[in-house]
Symmetry: C2
Subunit: 230 residues, 2 copies
DNA sequence: ATCTGTGAAGTCCTTCACAGCC
DNA sequence: GGCTGTGAAGGACTTCACAGAT
């Protein structure tokens, strides 16, 4: 039983963050008709080390066979279960600007355990218009969505100015998981989980490494110059 | 001098990843006319602990005043310098589907040190069409972009099937920093840096925590039922 | 008196390396 | 022989708590 508790409660955050990658790699393997895989192969497909992969999987239980490897379908099922993807999670996207419309059109949701039940916008002139096959609904529908559609996850795709207001409304309606695409920090109660996606941040991290690389080349050139001067 | 080396080389990855958030918070403060800030206040604005903030900033140098705090403009400048944002980095976006077009329209690039110099697509029927004020260019333009525009960063916004091919072309043209929005692992040389943004992964992480929460409620209900039964 | 900058301690995560099992 | 699962070692990051500066 203590092992069970460990398997259910004790998965480190860093491991959880990698499980979707393993699941995706397993799905690819399954599509290519491969039914068995070693930790070395799966790790390569997911872009991690095999030791890390095995340690991560050990937190879920013992689903491999020593001397053989893992059965692809079985492992995919176990990871799906651990992530809670055996059920479909209802998702609402708030903010129908360029990004919101791109997200609404993204086909990856349905295939990965999510169901976009509503597109919302604060702007009355957008409400009622169509995005793909869906109609844009007003923010006032949030309460009903949580009650009737068991809406659990909200995606914020608004500009930064509106994001906190949208978050407040989501929380008030009972949503406790938020994916935030707006470039700002959200203030929410402790029991609400927020994850942030920010492409400017990612580009700035890349810029840091680019600059460091360039700086090193400059230093190398300088030292060559120095040697010539001597 | 050894302090200089530490400041240039030794910034931990975890710190670098938070610097953009500090920069954003500082920009907000500056816009609101605030010229001085304590580590406690800035940390709250950026959503981290003050100890973490101070430790992060200590890797850049000593730009605060004990007993007083940090000057907003000065600190923003120092962080910009550390991140390499005193110059504008030329960026190309590859893949003009829904996501690529949303990225092309995103105004946050220009204001944060980046310059979108080209929109590219592999599909000949898209090449030549306009996205915003820009014309979509063919992949064959990549070499010229790297040579003439000093293109340094490539953004991949294609479907997963094409992403590896696009990455190969970017690398062949000399791009060594890639931001990948496609849900797949890219195989690149070790000196090429890839960062990945994947909304499905983020949603799955949220689902894990939602499920864990629900699971706990179920257990709580069970134990209540148990007590009632006893 | 106040707030920064930082060694030291503590926590979390990764890697190693091998026992255990097929 | 080959591969998984895992304690133990190692490394990275965070938090503590206080010396040092104004």
């Amino acid at each position: 039983m203590s092992a069970d508790v460990a398997a259910r409660r004790g998965i480190p955050d860093a491991s959880v963050a990698r499980l979707p990658g393993y699941l995706q790699a397993l799905t690819n393997l399954a599509e290519r008709g491969i039914s068995s895989v070693s930790s070395e192969e799966l790790a390569a497909a997911a872009g991690v080390s095999s030791a890390k992969l095995r340690k991560d999987l050990s937190h879920l239980g013992s689903y491999g066979v020593r001397g053989v490897g893992y059965e692809v379908d079985r492992l995919a099922y176990e990871i799906s279960t651990a992530l809670g993807l055996t059920q479909d999670w209802p998702v609402a996207i708030v903010g129908m600007g360029n990004l919101g419309r791109a997200l609404a059109a993204y086909s990856g949701f349905a295939t990965r355990g999510f169901n976009v039940v509503a597109l919302l916008d604060h702007d009355d002139s957008l409400v009622g218009t169509s995005v793909g096959k869906r109609r844009v609904r007003p923010m006032a529908d949030l309460d009903a969505l949580v009650r009737e559609d068991r809406l659990a996850i909200g995606v914020i795709a608004t500009p930064a100015d509106s994001a906190q207001d949208v978050a407040d409304r989501l929380v008030a309606a009972g949503v406790r998981s938020i994916l935030n695409f707006a470039p700002c920090v959200l203030d929410v109660p402790v029991d609400v989980m927020v994850r942030k996606v920010d492409m400017s941040t990612e580009l700035q991290i890349l810029a840091f490494h680019e600059q460091r690389r360039t700086g090193e080349l400059d230093l190398a050139e300088q030292s060559v110059v120095g040697e010539v001067a001597l």
